[in-house]
């Protein structure tokens, strides 16, 4: 069952290598996403049975359930799936580039940069449209990534220096964000605080569209670059020997990784730890193979959907932002990761 196996076709003569376990895991994850998605649509203050949910999506439900499913819950759940997938992919890219599970965008300052830029756009520029917000977040994330990488560079970048410099830069960026918050009106500040913990409350179609469009570009780009990424994990020299244009591939990967994280941050806020946790879970599910991109994206979507479900229903009628749930689950995982790395003596 585990390990790759080759599939050969006689006519047209071709063969592909299929990792059976990875395919099976991806299938299960897709099923899990579908299930969680359906539950997310039907559960709430106004429960709607699954049959009626399907009817509403197809366009012949009652007026009430039509409104709730199609204007409220469907875009919210879609945002969860897209944002989770984007964070998962971005985390997989950064973790495999730095070869360090801690080097995920939420720890090395990429999401902090995106968040600071987005809050600045809201508070100082009065920006309201979600496309402009996404652009600001992208610029902020890229700038933060550049600064962190530049400061960590010293005859090459080692994983731990990158992480520590990222922690320092994150401190500066989050204090910028807090300063902007104290300048804001209390109403804006409260909204922004919810946004800053990462929230899916009130996400409508206008939030789905920019993420969807960005993912439609970035996901294929990432998958194309995925080949080079696997080669880069063998080390620069080996990758060069395999014919990979190392510098260009790395630049492309960083840009797509930052893009994914920034777009996701722009639409749901800096949801903590999804980017850190998803690739690691995916790796444990798929087996010892290098970080897979597709499983990481799927796990990210599952994590977001489940966390949102828990946040909505656990303290009902109070809705906790999804970021609180992911942080409370993700941070102990990070601690455990550190403890394990320390015990086997790889901890810096």
């Amino acid at each position: 069952m585990d390990g790759p196996c080759a599939v050969r076709l006689r006519r047209p003569s071709a063969s592909i290598r299929v990792d059976v376990r990875a395919v099976a895991v991806c299938g299960c994850l897709a099923g899990l996403i579908a299930g969680a998605f359906a539950v997310n649509l039907s559960v709430g203050d106004f429960p709607i049975p699954l049959g009626e949910v399907v009817a509403s999506i197809l366009g012949h439900g009652g007026a009430d359930s039509d409104f709730i499913v199609r204007t409220l819950r469907l875009p919210r759940s879609l945002t969860a799936v897209l944002v989770g997938a984007a964070f998962g992919l971005s985390g997989a890219i950064f973790q495999s580039l730095a070869r360090n599970p801690l080097a995920s965008p939420d720890i090395i300052g990429v999401t902090a940069g995106a968040a600071a830029a987005a809050v600045a756009a809201i508070v100082l520029g009065g920006v309201a449209s979600s496309a402009a917000l996404a652009a600001a977040a992208l610029a902020g994330g890229l700038a933060a990534a550049l600064v962190v990488y530049g400061l960590a560079f010293r005859k090459g970048v080692t994983g731990y220096r990158l992480v520590l410099v990222g922690i320092g830069i994150t401190a500066v960026l989050s204090s910028v964000t807090s300063y902007l918050l104290t300048r804001a009106e209390i109403f804006d500040a409260q909204r922004a605080t919810v946004w800053l913990t990462g929230s899916l409350n009130g996400r409508g179609w206008e939030h789905v569209r920019p993420v969807g469009a960005a993912l439609a570009v970035l996901v294929p780009a990432t998958l194309v670059l995925g080949r080079a990424m696997r080669a880069l994990q063998l080390g620069d020299d080996a990758a060069r020997g395999l014919g990979v244009p190392v510098d260009r591939a790395r630049l492309g990967l960083v840009v797509t990784g930052v893009g994914l994280a920034a777009v996701a941050t722009a639409s749901a806020g800096p949801v903590a730890f999804v980017a850190l946790v998803s690739p690691q879970i995916a790796r444990r599910l798929v087996g010892a193979s290098p970080l897979g991109l597709v499983p990481a994206a799927l796990v990210g979507a599952v994590v977001m959907l489940l966390a949102d479900l828990v946040g909505r229903r656990m303290f009902a009628p109070i809705e906790l932002p999804v970021g609180v749930i992911t942080a409370v689950v993700g941070a102990p995982y990070l601690l455990w990761l550190l403890a394990r790395a320390n015990r086997v003596g790889r901890g810096g």
Binding site: L164, I167, T182, L335, G348
Partner: protein, 349 residues
């Protein structure tokens, strides 16, 4: 051309001021600078008040609005800055000494986050409102966070290396911070108050807060000064310290209690303020060399200079509003942290 960081490293090893008499003179000079900064902190603000009016309000109080501002607003705030600065500077120095870690700081190692979570819990869950009530919770939180971070960072054969401790602290801060946010979001009414408290601020600290935490600040400072000798022996390594007759475990516990008391009191008074405890001991060590009997007093004098200076800068830069002091210290301290990390080897102290 020697890179500046190598130069700092050399200075920290020997100290620029070698003789004991000059070190004492330097300490007096620093104290004079502190008095000047404190006076400036009383005089500057959204309503500037001339220094002679400030002095007049102490000696010939006439009830005018200037004198009232000085007495009821500016002086308590400045005193709070003094107390918190002393506490953070000494806590940072003791932490760096006892963990032999150049990156140690109550903010980076998660102690601040633990104390603030405990304070928020006490206010939200138990309706404790006075600082003298929640200072105990701040101690509990600080102690819990330090134990977990140190335990996590010292797993493994090579013990608590600087990098492992810093990572454990960052992870712990993330965890505790998100729980704090969750509680604040459940109770929206307190958010307005807390968005100013959480960044670390000296604004609106009246005399009762300071009076509540002052005994703890004093006790912590005495304990820290008392453990200076044992920090010196601990810096030689546990084995050498033991062979010199040092009771290593006892010394560690004393130092840890000092850190917890100082940090807890500082957080209870002003909220979590980062990076003061990181930067100041390095500067002190560059002046005096590694002897903690000098590093600790210097840190205690230099830290409030930095804190009050940041507070004044925050008031001047963002006029007519103000920048919370925790934000300013992050801007000053984080580049210092990055520079420390960029050093070729994170040498243990």
């Amino acid at each position: 051309m020697v890179p500046p960081w190598t130069r700092l490293e050399r200075m920290e090893r020997k100290g620029v001021v070698a003789s004991r008499r000059w070190r004492a003179a330097g300490l007096v000079l620093a104290a004079a600078a502190l008095v000047a900064v404190a006076l400036a902190s009383v005089a500057y603000g959204s309503k500037p008040i001339a220094v002679n009016r400030v002095l007049g309000s102490f000696f010939t109080f006439d009830g005018s609005s200037d004198h009232l501002i000085v007495r009821s607003l500016r002086v308590p705030r400045t005193l709070a800055g003094l107390g918190v600065g002393v506490a953070l500077g000494m806590a940072g120095a003791v932490m760096q000494g006892v963990t032999r870690n150049p990156l140690a700081d109550p903010g980076i190692l998660g102690v601040n986050a633990g104390a603030s979570l405990a304070v928020v819990l006490a206010i939200y869950g138990l309706d404790v409102t006075s600082p003298s009530g929640y200072v105990w919770f701040a101690f509990l939180g600080a102690a819990g966070a330090s134990v977990v971070v140190y335990g996590l960072g010292s797993l493994g054969r090579d013990g608590a290396t600087p990098v492992k401790l810093a990572l454990a602290g960052a992870a712990m801060s993330a965890l505790l911070g998100s729980v704090t946010t969750a509680i604040l979001l459940l109770d929206v009414a307190t958010l307005d108050q807390f968005r100013f408290w959480v960044v670390g601020s000296l604004a609106g600290r009246d005399a009762t807060i300071l009076r509540g935490v002052a005994p703890f600040l004093g006790a912590g400072a005495l304990l820290a000064l008392g453990s200076a000798r044992s920090l010196n022996t601990l810096s030689l390594g546990d084995d050498v310290a033991r062979s010199l007759g040092q009771r290593v475990g006892l010394a560690r516990v004393c130092a840890a209690v000092a850190v917890v008391v100082l940090t807890g009191a500082a957080v209870a008074a002003a909220g979590p303020i980062g990076f003061i405890g990181l930067t100041v001991p390095h500067v002190a060590r560059a002046i005096t060399g590694p002897d903690y009997r000098w590093v600790l007093p210097y840190s205690a004098v230099l830290a409030p200079i930095l804190l009050l200076g940041s507070d004044i800068a925050g008031r001047v830069v963002a006029r007519p509003g103000e920048l919370q002091v925790g934000i300013v210290t992050a801007f000053v301290g984080a580049p210092f942290f990055v520079a420390l990390v960029r050093r070729r080897k994170l040498a243990e102290l």
